[in-house]
Each structure stands twice: as structure tokens, then as C-alpha cells.
Symmetry: C3
Subunit: 458 residues, 3 copies
């Protein structure tokens, strides 16, 4: 197989980036809160500068940003010889994806009817990062087996599909999904798994599909930044005040519970009770995924703990039993186990959201509270919580369909023999797309020799 | 010794997590600012959403969160073969500890007398993280020598003791301790040192008690995140406005001064003037510990520098002279040197706090200022700064007693032969509790061979 | 050469830190917003606590702080045997530099005429970090070739020069430079390059001037934290509200575009289309540098993309063609390639700023907007945007002159044979100034042996 991407990769990067510039020139402008006229307008109504949405959301945005680039990037560095690809391609596709997401989401959500322009602000940046997250989840399934050009194509279609399904779920169906259990995780995971299924490699060489000691420690950087900042992820676009506050608390608690059950199952699964780093790196995060939809609801602290408790168990069991099963019988090779970390917890999150919404009562929320949390305004004014539960379930189905359907279609495209992907016996190897430095082993002898001399001398 | 924890570890994780869910169900609810009714109430008194405590404290909370999980976790990865245990068990006990802390601290501090429930919000989360910090400090003393089950037990008792001593120091004695020099660091360090003393291993094998090049670089990740975010740690629960502002400035300055004196002493202590990574990784942080209590007082910028200056010297000298002394003569094996990083600077912090409080004058603080900073309200209305100084000193003593006494008691429990701890010749070794990947050295030959072929071909 | 710094390094650290304490004692006090009287004053005018500048800027400050210590520190860990020096000396000189910067910048900018004291707050801390950034950039040029004492001297003079040129550019010339393209990057880079030119080593041993696999991954930690937090860097000291908001958006977009063109050029430049980690680690950041000056202007989203697009190309081409050329013909050895990452993009940023300012119109900004953005107040009330463009260009020239001139002068000082710098054949080697642990290779055989036995037994 020809893995030379010297023409295709630069071409794709240049042309698509130029397209972005042109489209941004036509469509994208600052919104009212980032435009220079805001200050004046503020003075007129004697509003404080601190009420700019920037101060409500920017700290959360930066946390989300860290999750996207360091969190996802380093989580995937666990392979012994694919750390460059993990963290480097992650940066590449996220940087492209967020631009395309600003456009796609803008056309659907924030097109100003007055001048036909998309108005962006800090919330748009968070949403673009969210959209990119779904593509990075999908990358986890095909990690080490695709070329950077294929990843760019995957991202182009992934962002497009995301924007459409998000519009259907949030606007047409009117489901709520603050932390994106359905919109981001369920969609992204099934999108990636379907592509991986389409690109099945029966003779995949597993020699490099594993970790070394230090690559596992690098991966823990990713795990921890995802784990720590997940409360910001789930609360980033919740409504101001108690909405953001509550979403952060729920996520914080759910993740804590997940850690304990993950450790329990991981230890139970081994003869000597030893822990498996793969579980600690991944399953400890499942609680954050599963509490996404319901994070801003009155889930109650113990509710969050229960969600986290269950997800730690299910996700770890998934790594132990389901991943090998899927590879052997369903022909789905899932490098990072995104089925256990994103797909199953995402679906659980959607179900928890539906149940919690359906069970919402005026006793707990108050009349105004129901309106605020579930956005029962405009044409949804007379909606009941039980109905909302149904709409939530419908939203989950849409996410599933878009993920699986879109993944199969894009998988077809990616099977074309023009993308420069790796041969079966050179997967998981940075050598193909990176200038890799000579190995560490060739240096120490000289160094040690020097040390001896110096030690003797000094 | 039997180090199999396949029954005990899962049992402890499951049962304790279930207990948490039940206790949370009975006791824990959202506080007013994270409850859905806040929005409505806000409208009624036309208060801005931005005045939710969330926006005052959440950025600091996230910084503290990073210190707990990445800071403490990676600081302890310096051992050549205990990085999994360092970062993994750190995550485990912190995730458990914060739940238990929410309950314990809640019963003492935020039990609502109306309905008997604990009401939690962002400040509770910060306090829970603080409480966990004291247990992670204790972990530093016994790093590599205890089993994960022992760590869980240590954390259970540590959090309990912490909540009691915190209540005594802050509420009964009415000492102030914004950054927890006494409550967190002094207590946590002596708790850990006493446990380590109780678990003394005369025949400890030191073969793996050291670093390799890259493990030292990993540890610097921990050091830097602790160093950078310490201003947030010390200001996280200070009072709104100038309190948080001043605490951040004082800590920023103190830490800067510590770095220079640490480097100076480290260089002086070696024949060739070379620096020791252990000092840079640890002693550079001592200034943050020592400025904790007085951070929100009018310590003055030069005061902060003086505190940092002294602590860099004392902490580094501790590593050079005291740690070997304590191991040889006092039978205290202190893996991370927490005596130098937390115990001594913590005590200094308590003393600095007492002096600064006693020296506080209406000239500097103003009448209202004294009231705000030292909380001279309610039954403490007529308290004088000099009295407050005495109370601060009393608080320090309580922290010391709880640390030493509690550590000895818990040490007795941990000496029971049922916890699966490591034999003396296998300490500091991840092999005991983790599935460790095969070593890096077994791969490169194949890789290099491939490269040669490819290079010749391409 | 004698590289023993056992006298000089501790002496410099002690004496300078003592000097800082004395100068801080004489000069530095809390400003109004971090002083204890703020609370009372607040009550009097019924202003909310949240309007303390702390809440506007502290989250950005912490992000900048991470860039300085983890960002710059880890970016330079790419060398195979200089990671201790990279991250350790970075911490040392930044910790010293920020104290000296508070004084120098304070004397120029925030000396209170009433009492002759410098009043510091969160903005001073950000500015001190900014000032330090310019010295860390300069460190990049001489990485691995100078002693820690030389670095301290470099920082002392660097901060001093910075404070003067900053005062000239921002106050006397009245140029705007929110993200410091001119003041920080252009100055810092040419300062470092000139020093490197003065310290040219014709016989430099390149054996250790390269990376190994894991050191490249460590460097990516630095890259990513710089990349992610650059929006905070460029918006940290912009004016409240839309100013900060817009600066963040512009930087976010510019950096995204840079990634794509960097990847394109990097791939194009290699026979097999493989990517070079040096480019990904560095050139992807060029867009953040170049958008610094104009970040708070109405650059428009597509304008930011264009800036990023160009800088990715120019910076990567610089690494491929210019760095070798400069070393061979201009005798400038630039270890980190700061000419490509900071110097050229910095100059471009200055030019972009001049053009954007000159092109500013009342149609886009509004009358009030022009006043706010370009600070056309006081004696600059009648200034026109076109004039402002000229002033911007003048500011760029001043930064260049100070960088080159200052660097040559300081380079002369650093050529004195008293600083303990490395001999030509031991550059890029931590052995000289650090106690380096024995190599990893000496451990595994024992470990593996143990494993075999244990596996057979268990």
C-alpha cells in the first residue's frame, strides 16, 4: 500500500483552509457581546461589564478546550508507538473541525435574519468544541489504522452530520442535552464504530497495539484532565446561575462514584486482583458521559452517584467482555474502546435524561423552574414533563440513527483506495506519517561512558 | 506476604460506595444557589445571575481540582516503577474521600436545621477537595509501602479526623485558616508521618526507591500545576472581593521567593554545585504552604516574600539533613519527604498566621476590615487581634495533636495483617497491584529492523 | 571550562532575592482592589463584590501563568537530555523575573504619586508574567548552551529593558499591543537571537541536540497548553467586556488556521510527506503571536484566519530554510527556532496591527468604539486612526531596536569567562548542572527476572 500523503494531505489542508477563509468572510461576524458597540450600549442601559456572557462562560470554555486538545489527545497516547499520531492528528482535526463547526452550527442556530450573517461569541466557541469532540470520539475507534487524510474526511462529514442531528434533536424535537450524552457521545461513538466496521482489517497486526510503561503514564494526563474538567463540560452551556452550578455538582459526584466501581470491577476481573490501566484510563470517565443530559436537571446528588456507580460497572465490564466479543464476532475493531466509554454511557445518559425529565414535577421544580430548565417557552409552552420524556427518548434514537447511518456512508467513502492508509502490518506505527527520532537506546551507552569518566574525574 | 487484594479491594469499593449513595440519599441536597428555585428568587430581588457564588469560586475550584488530581498525582510519579500507583491510587482515594468529606464536613458545617439536610454548593466542593488534600499529603509519606485497601482505610479515618479537627479549629477556637496551613498541611503531614512511623520497615529494599530521567520529568508536571495553582488554593474560600484578590497575590509572591532560595540551598549542598531534582520538585512549593493561614491577612507583599524566602531554605535543608536523620534515628520512612514540604512549612504557616493576626491593627485594617478579615461577628464581636493571635496558636496545637494522635491510632489499625501490603523487598513496585505492560526494551529491535528496511526501500 | 556554579548560583539567588525583599518593603503595596478597605468602600457605593477586577481577570491570569511555567517549560523539554534544564531553569528565571518585573513595571506604570508606592493587583501579576515571557522566549535561543547564572543575568537585564521599551511603546508612542506581538515577542526574540549571536560556538557538538520519542511527547504538553491558553494571553489585559471577548475569539481562530497550514508545509517539505514534530510543536503557535497586537481590534473572524494562515506557512518555512541558513551564514544558533515562532510572527503581528489600526473607521467602530479601543483620551483625544497606524509602526521599530541592541550589550556581559557555561562538547546536557539519576536501562533486567518468577509462582 502507498502511504505517501505528500500530495493529498497538503492539498486537503490548503484548500479546505482557504475555503474556510472565504466562507468566514461571507458569513461570520462578531455577535453583540463581542462587538465593539457593546460597550456603548452597556453604558446606555447602565449594565455592568461583568454581565457580558464572556464572564459567565469563558472559564468553562477554557476547561472544555483543554479536554478537547490535551484530554482527548493524551488519552490516546497510550499506544507504545503512536503517541505522535494521537496527539498530533488530534490537534489537526480539531483545529479544522472547529472552524467548520462554527459555520455549520451557525447556519442552523445563529443566522441573523437581518443581514444573513452568523454571529459568534463565546458560546459558539464552546459549541464548536463540543461538535469537534464527537469527531475525536470517533477517531478513538480507528486510532492507528487510518491516514491523516482519512481523518480530515471523517471530520468534514462528522461535523456536517453533527450539526444536522443537533438541530433535529435540540430544535425540532426539543430535547434537552446540556452535556451532550446523546448529541455528542452517542452520535460520535456510533459514527466511529460504524466506520471502524466498514474498515475492518481481518489480518491486523497487533504487535504495536499495546502500551509501554511511560505511554500509560502519558495517557493518564489525558484521563485526568478529562476527569477534572468534565464538570465544566456539562455545565458550559447550561443556563446562567443555578443551571451551571447544579450541572457542575452533578458531574463532580457522578465521576467520583465511577472511579470506585471501576476499580472494583477491574480488580475483580484479574486472577491476582491487579488493576488494569486500560480500565482506569477510560472507565473512570463513564460517569461524566452518562450524567450529561440530566446534569442541569434536579437529578439530586444521590441520583448522580447512582448513575456513576452503574456506569463504572458497565463500562469496565464492556472492556473485559464486550470489546473482544465485538472484534471477534461483529468485526468491529475499536482501538480505544469507545463503545465502553462513550457509546454505552451515552445511551444510558439519554435514558436517564428521559426518565428524569418525565419524572419532573412542579413540586420539585416549581412552575417557573420547569419553564427554565426544560425551556417550555414559545410554541412549547404547554408541554408537560411526561411529554418531554418522550421527546428525550426520540432524541436518543435520532442520535443513534445518525451515528450508525452516517458512519456507514462515510465508511464507504473511506474505503476508496486513494487515502494512503496503513497496510495491515504497519498499523499503530508513527513511522508511516511522522519523522520519528532515532531510539533512546542508541544514546545511553555514550552518556554512561561520559558519566563514568566524569565521576572518576570529579 | 499475600498481596492479593482481589476480595478486599472490590469489597471495600463497592460497600463504601453503596454506603455513600444511601447517606447522600438521606442527607445531601442542593443549596439555595444550585437549586432550581434560585432563578425565580433572583428575579424577585432583581439580582444579577452573575452574583451566584458559582461565578466567584468556580474558576478557583477547578484550579484546586487540578492540584488534587494532577498536582498530587503526578508529583508522586517520580519513582521509577510506581507511577501507576502514584497517579492511580491518588485518583481512587481522592474520589472516595471527597464524597465522605461532603458528608462529614456537611454534618459539622452546613446542616440545615429546618430539614436536617446538608446543603451543598461550589464552596462545599472546594472544602471537600481541601479535606482530601490532607489525606493525599499523608499518602506521600507511605507511598509505595501500602496496599490500596490500606489507603482507603487511611482516607476514611483521615477525612473523619479532618472534619472534627477543622470544626474545632475554625468554629470552636475561631482560628482563621484560608489556605489550610494548619488544618490541611500540618494535620495531613503529621497524620501521614505517624502512620509511617507505626508501619516502620527495618529491612526496606531501596532498589526501586529512586527516579529515572523521565519519571523526574513526569513529577515536574505535578510540581508545576501545584506551584501555578496555589494562589487559587489559598484564595478559593477567602471572602469575596479583596479577600480572594489579596490571598492570590500573597501566595504568588511567596512561591516566587521560595524558588530562588531552594535553588540556592540545593546548589550549595552538592560538591559540584549541581541541583537536585528532589528539591526542585518539592521545596519550591513550601512557600505556598507557609503562606496559607495568613494569605488573606494584610501580610504585605514583602511579608509574603520573607515567608517564601525562609521556607525555601528550611524545606531544602530538611531534605538534605532531616529526612535521613528521621529515617535512621526516629524510624520514620518518609517516601516523598512530606515533613519538609508540608509539616514544617505548615507549622511555620500557623505561626506566621498567629503573629500576623496578633499584630493586626485598626490603623492597617480599619474597623470594618478587622471585622471582615477575622470574622469578629456574633459571639466573637468583642475579640481583639491579640486574642485572635492566641486562638491561632491554639488552632495549630489542635492540628498537631489530631495529626499525631490520629496517625498513631490509624497506624495500629493498618498494622493488622489483613490488608495485603507489600513485602519489604517489593515496595515501590507497580507489579504488585497493577498489570504492567512488557518493557519498552523488548520492542525497539524489531522496530529498528523495520526502519532499516524501510529506509533502504524508500 | 569550569562549570561549577556552587558559589555563583547560590550567591546570585540569595543576594537578588534579598534585594527583592528590601525593594518590595520600600515600594510595593496592595492596590485599592486587593486592599482590605475595598469592601467597605464597596458597601458605601453599593457596588457588587463581583466587580472587583479580580473576577474579570483572574481566570485569564491563571491561564497565562500555565503558559509561562508549563507552556514554555515543557515546550523546551524536547531535547533528549536537557529536560531538567528546560523545565527547571524556566521555573527559576520566571520566578525571579516576575518579582523584578513587578518593580520595574511598577515604577513606570503604577507608581502612586501620593505616597510613592507601587500598587499591585491582578493586572500587575499578568503584566509581570508577560514581561517574563519575553525572557523565556530569549531562553529558547540559547537553550542548552548557557549556565543558570547566565540565565539569571539575562533575565535581570531582559526585564529591565522590557520595562523601558514597554513604557516607550505603550505610553510615549501610544501604540496598542494587547497580546504583545511587538512588546513581548519581537523584543524577546531579537533579544535572545542577538545574545545567541554574541555567544556563537563554532565547534558546537550536536550529538545531544535532538529529541527522543518520549521527549517529543513531553514537548507536546508545552505546545498544547500554549496553544489552548493563547486566547487568554491575548485577552488578559484587554478592556473589560467586548474587548476581552473579541480578543479571545480572534486568537482562537487564528491559531486554528495556523495548524492546517503548518501541517501542509511540513508534509510538503519531506520526500515521503511525513510530518516533522519540530514544526507541529512550534509553528502551530505562530498564529497566536501574530494576532497579538490586533486581537482586540475589529480584525473580523476571517481576518484572524488569514493571519493564522500566513503565519503557519512562514513559520514552517522558517524552520526548513531559515534556521539552517542563519546558523551557517549568520552565526546565529537558535536551539528552539524562536526566530520562526516569535520573531517573524511578532513582526507580522506588529504590521497587521498597524494596518488594522490605520484602516479603522467610524463606520465599523462607532465614535465611542474608536475612543475605547484605541484609547483616544486625554492628550490623544484628537488622534486619527491613520496616525495611530503610524504610531503602531513606530512601536514595532522600538521593539526591534531594544531587542537587538539590548541583546548585543547583554551578550557582551555574558561572554565574560566567569559564568560557568558549558564547554562546546557538553552542551545540551543536564549532567552539568543537575544530579541525573542512573539510566533506566540498568533496571529492567532485574525487574523482568522478578516478573518471570512471580508469574511462574502465581
Amino acid at each position: 500500500k502507498n502511504t505517501n500523503v505528500r500530495i493529498s494531505l497538503p492539498a486537503v489542508c490548503f484548500v479546505w483552509q482557504l475555503a474556510m477563509i472565504i466562507l468566514f468572510g461571507f458569513f461570520i461576524r462578531y455577535n453583540a457581546e463581542s462587538d465593539v458597540h457593546w460597550k456603548q450600549e452597556n453604558k446606555n442601559i447602565s449594565r455592568s461589564d461583568i454581565e457580558n456572557d464572556f464572564y459567565f462562560r469563558y472559564p468553562s470554555f477554557q476547561d472544555v478546550h483543554v479536554m478537547i486538545f490535551v484530554g482527548f489527545g493524551f488519552l490516546m497516547t497510550f499506544l507504545k508507538r503512536y503517541s505522535f499520531g494521537a496527539v498530533g492528528f488530534n490537534l489537526l482535526i480539531a483545529a479544522f473541525g472547529l472552524q467548520w463547526a462554527l459555520l455549520m452550527q451557525g447556519w442552523f442556530h445563529s443566522l441573523d435574519p437581518m443581514d444573513g450573517k452568523i454571529k459568534i461569541g463565546v458560546e459558539s466557541m464552546i459549541n464548536a468544541d463540543f461538535c469537534v469532540a464527537s469527531c475525536l470520539i470517533a477517531y478513538g475507534a480507528v486510532l492507528g489504522k487510518v491516514s491523516p487524510v482519512q481523518l480530515m474526511v471523517m471530520t468534514l462529514f462528522g461535523v456536517t452530520l453533527y450539526a444536522v442531528e443537533e438541530y433535529i434533536i435540540l430544535n425540532l424535537i426539543h430535547a434537552r442535552d446540556a452535556g451532550g450524552s446523546m448529541v455528542i457521545h452517542t452520535f460520535g461513538a456510533y459514527y466511529g464504530l460504524s466506520i471502524s466496521w466498514m474498515l475492518y482489517r481481518p489480518n491486523l497486526d497487533k504487535r504495536l497495539n499495546g502500551s509501554v510503561y511511560h505511554s500509560d503514564v502519558f495517557a493518564m494526563i489525558g484521563t485526568l484532565f478529562l476527569w477534572m474538567f468534565w464538570p465544566s463540560f456539562n455545565s458550559a452551556i447550561s443556563y446562567h446561575g443555578d443551571g451551571q452550578h447544579r450541572a457542575a455538582i452533578n458531574t463532580y459526584l457522578s465521576l467520583a462514584a465511577t472511579v470506585l466501581t471501576t476499580v472494583a470491577i477491574s480488580s475483580l476481573s484479574q486472577k491476582a486482583g491487579k488493576l488494569d490501566m486500560v480500565h482506569i484510563q477510560n472507565s473512570t470517565l463513564a460517569g461524566g458521559v452518562a450524567v450529561g443530559t440530566a446534569a442541569e436537571f434536579m437529578l439530586m446528588p444521590y441520583g448522580s452517584l447512582i448513575v456513576g456507580f452503574c456506569c463504572g460497572i458497565i463500562s469496565t465490564l464492556g472492556y473485559i467482555y464486550l470489546t473482544p466479543f465485538m472484534e471477534k464476532y461483529l468485526k468491529i475493531q475499536d482501538t480505544c474502546g469507545i463503545h465502553n466509554l462513550h457509546a454505552m454511557p451515552g445511551v444510558i445518559g439519554g435514558i436517564v435524561g428521559a426518565i428524569t425529565a418525565a419524572a419532573a414535577s412542579e413540586g420539585v421544580y416549581g412552575k417557573e423552574g420547569l419553564k427554565t430548565v426544560f425551556d417550555f417557552t414559545g410554541k412549547w409552552e404547554n408541554m408537560l414533563p411526561t411529554q418531554q420524556g418522550g421527546h428525550q427518548a426520540a432524541g436518543l434514537c435520532v442520535a443513534l440513527c445518525f451515528g450508525i447511518g452516517g458512519g456507514i456512508l462515510v465508511g464507504c467513502v473511506l474505503r476508496l483506495p486513494i487515502w494512503g492508509d496503513a497496510p495491515d502490518d504497519h498499523c499503530f506505527d508513527d513511522e508511516l506519517y511522522w519523522e520519528v527520532p532515532e531510539d533512546e537506546e542508541s544514546i545511553p551507552p555514550i552518556l554512561e561512558y561520559d558519566n563514568h569518566i566524569r565521576n572518576q574525574a570529579g
